[in-house]
């Protein structure tokens, strides 16, 4: 029997770039093929070729042994190829049913939408594959994990049997990833075949039947999960040895730089989301804040950086009270901030790199003389930082928005860490980045620590916290569950704390008592 899908010699050129260079892929029925590669390796281009969004310059596509031409999503759908995009293609103000039926609507009386028939089919698909969802719910009201189910249902509704999942775990919590993998297994059991695109090594090893690694638009190698490990895949992906565990000396903590006492912060909708939080960060150490997304970490960081007012408690920076200080005062006191949403809060995407690099120093000499910006100084600084922080860009005048995620983050890190800071606050510093960039940003944070700065890292990735932090603050529902020194931290214990459970000293788990608000 021929494979369900075969790509032979796919080549796609863009002006100045060879995005795909003679790529061969084979997907067997009922299997998961993982497509591994860093951002910009050509994974998305290849899948867009397969989905008909791009026309390849060379190469052939075979579906079940038949040579096919795909000119648009319509052709792909007709061949049974469906794709879940990294950024969901869902209309938030429409219901699940409306989103699913869009483009192939059920019609009654020759004119009117037949929502009941569509909802019934969605229900059947839900049952069959364990994709539980309310057909009449507004998509915008659903959590991300459920929205992803809707995307998968959309494909099954169109009777797709080759499913492309583009970075499906990037937006999910660990529990949701687990749920997704169960769905994938039930899809396989029903004979569906899946292309799983990712740069997360652990997930690829867990779910795939075979692995193809792309690098720079070419196939860098292929592997079987049972014969590979994270290290071997990472070096295939990056093209050199990669240090997965961060090398660092034991911390030499000195005086406290940041002291937080009984801090209370309100979230959106006037709910208290940070409840009486107290901790400190000392010079020369990295404190990691662990916790499942949405347990008050975002608001905590916003409050510490002056972006969100504190409702109670005190924040002291180098002994000075900054509880109600403005962001500029906090910045000038020696704080640098790598924000959680780099595109929204960290950069002005349409501005060139050079201008983004002076965002918090534009009013100071030598960048400004009086009210006039000094072009030469701006250029000089940009050239220096781009070289020093290894930002890969054609020029310092390139708009930041056209860089890859990793390079965007490097611009922020260059801007923030190039100042003589006493405190570094980095929120989700490596979210969505490739291995190379992660490695680089981690090393920069550790360099900062070793230079004597206090570093606070907030991350939803437990691995990142475990490899970076000297002490771990675990947050759950706005409270600090515990503060654990790295020597005593284990994956299991931190994981339990993140779920609100105190690992008891005698080995028995007791549920944390929730005091009344």
């Amino acid at each position: 029997m021929p494979p369900v899908l075969e790509l032979k010699g796919i080549t796609k050129r863009f002006p100045g770039v060879l995005a795909n260079d003679h790529i061969d892929l084979t997907l067997e029925e009922g299997k998961v093929l993982a497509l591994l590669g860093e951002n910009g390796a050509g994974k998305s281009t290849l899948m867009n070729v397969l989905y008909g969004l791009y026309t390849p310059d060379e190469g052939e596509i075979f579906v079940r042994g038949q040579k096919v031409d795909i000119h648009g999503p319509g052709d792909a759908i007709a061949l049974g190829i469906g794709m879940v995009h990294q950024h969901f293609m869902l209309v938030p103000v429409l219901t699940v049913t409306e989103n699913v039926m869009l483009g192939m609507e059920s019609i009654k009386n020759k004119l009117f939408l037949d929502r009941e028939v569509a909802a019934k089919r969605i229900h059947e698909i839900s049952e069959q594959y364990g994709l539980d969802v309310d057909p009449y719910a507004m998509v915008g009201d659903l959590p991300v994990g459920i929205q992803q189910r809707v995307e998968i249902i959309k494909l099954l509704y169109r009777q797709a049997d080759i499913l492309i999942l583009d970075e499906p775990t990037a937006v999910l919590t660990p529990q949701e990833v687990h749920g997704l993998f169960q769905v994938i297994r039930s899809l396989l059991a029903k004979g569906k075949s899946i292309i799983f695109i990712s740069h997360k090594l652990k997930e690829v090893l867990e779910i795939s039947d075979s692995i193809v690694v792309l690098r720079g638009g070419r196939i860098a190698g292929s592997a079987l999960p049972q014969e590979s490990n994270e290290r071997s895949l990472a070096s295939l992906m990056v093209g050199r040895e990669v240090i997965l565990t961060v090398a660092k000396e034991k911390a030499q903590p000195k005086e406290p730089v940041l002291e937080v006492k009984n801090l209370r912060v309100m979230g959106e909708g006037a709910h208290v989301v940070v409840r009486d939080v107290s901790f400190d960060v000392r010079a020369g150490e990295i404190v990691g804040v662990a916790g499942v997304q949405g347990n008050g970490q975002t608001e905590l960081v916003e409050s510490l950086t002056g972006l969100r007012p504190a409702q109670g408690g005190a924040v002291r920076l180098l002994g000075k009270d900054v509880t109600h200080a403005s962001p500029r005062v906090i910045t000038e006191a020696g704080t640098s901030h790598v924000p959680e949403d780099r595109q929204r809060d960290g950069l002005v995407l349409s501005y060139p790199i050079a201008d983004n690099l002076i965002m918090n120093t534009y009013y100071l000499p030598p960048i400004a003389r009086g009210v006039v910006l000094q072009e030469a100084a701006i250029k000089e600084r940009a050239e220096r930082l781009v070289a020093e922080y290894d930002v890969r860009t054609p020029s310092i005048m390139t708009p930041v928005g056209s860089l890859s995620g990793g390079n965007q983050q490097k611009v922020i890190v260059a801007r923030e860490l190039s100042r003589p800071d006493q405190l570094v606050i980095a929120s989700q510093p490596t979210r969505g980045l490739d291995v190379g960039s992660i490695e680089y940003i981690h090393s920069q944070l550790i360099r900062k620590r070793d230079e004597g700065a206090a570093v606070l890292v907030v991350s939803a990735e437990l691995d990142e916290i475990l490899s970076l932090a000297d002490r771990i603050v675990v947050m759950f529902e706005g409270r600090i569950m515990d503060i654990v020194p790295i020597e005593k931290a284990t994956r299991e214990d931190i994981g339990l704390l993140m779920a609100g459970i105190h690992p008891d000293e005698h080995g028995a788990d007791v549920v944390a008592t929730k005091e009344a608000a």
Binding site: G72, M89, V91
Partner: protein
Amino acid sequence: MNENSKDTRRARTWGIVFLVFAALMLVLFLPGTTGSQRTTFAFDLELSEALPIGSLTFSTQGGLYLLVVLAVFLGAWQLAKGFKQVYLILGVVVLAFVLAFLTWAARDNSMNMTGMLQATLLRAVPITLAALSGVMCERCAVINIGIEGMMLTGAFTSALIGSLTQNVWVGLFAALSAGGLMGALLAVMAIRYKVDQIIAGTAINILATGLTSYFSSRYLQSIPELNRPPTFVQLPLPVLSRIPIVGPVLFTNTAPVYLMLILVAVIHVMLFYTRWGLRTRAVGEHPQAADTLGVNVFKTRYVNVILGGMIAGLGGAYLVLSSVARFDENMTAGRGFIGLAAMIFGKWSPIGALAASLIFGFADSLRTNLAILRVPIPSQFLLMAPYLVTMIVLAGVVGRANPPAADGQPYEKQ
């Protein structure tokens, strides 16, 4: 706990608002009246087929007190127990306020309510059509600021072609085509060339004003035969037109008025219950999502914007062929823009747009009526009324209206 206390606070605020309305009625209208004054609301129109029902005459103060008591009662009930449908009750209270105003304005005098409602509907027709044109375009994410210009083009074309052919229907059809052409122009600029849509719409307004003004002053004003179009005749619907009040207001109208009402209903049903509507809304909210499911974003937008232009053209033709029977420079007088306000007020839904247009139409017809009654309010202020209503409505009552998410953004295939 938090949610609940917020809800009670909001409920209480509404109760206080109702009481403030009651107090305003007392303070504003009562002092100017005497116990012997009487107000008459007439309901019969001359030359109407409707069965006569006479008129209502009552003591001015008595009527005012009754309305105040109603508002006080509703306010007190809201404070004590709360209504489920607060907005409906708000409507009732505002209506009581308006009635109190009319009672006061028509003291020692008579006001024809049926006439006023009729004027309300007629004045709302062009505004509604403008708003519908906006709904058609913005639901698929093309902002149409050029409605005013499209209406003006429609008005001019209907006057010229109507005069030449002496046939209202040909005039109407010409206006539809002209509006559609302007729509196509906007579509090409906004969709094909991705011009900023506000600029493109403004360009259309300037183009339409310039062209129609030039041709009007050069030809239409000097050659009377070119500016003498026929007008639509009234088509009273059998039986229905004989119902008192409703008959003359709703069922004794010209073809374009019926057409407007039908269009509101049809577009509403189409938008929310058909394939075209689902695709239009998806294209307006998340064009890429629609594209990946095989919906042709560009085609959807072209079709909708051209249809929107045709509806605006119809609005222009109505101004010429239903009443004045001639074209004058800038005769649309900002109705296209008020229509855009009605579209927003009506939250981008056809029925909402009609309701909002009726409010604007009412403000407009109130102005004329009050002038006739010699109400001691300077006429300049009355002239401002519809625009004040527009601003208040846009700033306050609508609250946060959510336009289609992709509104105004050109679509580029990746």
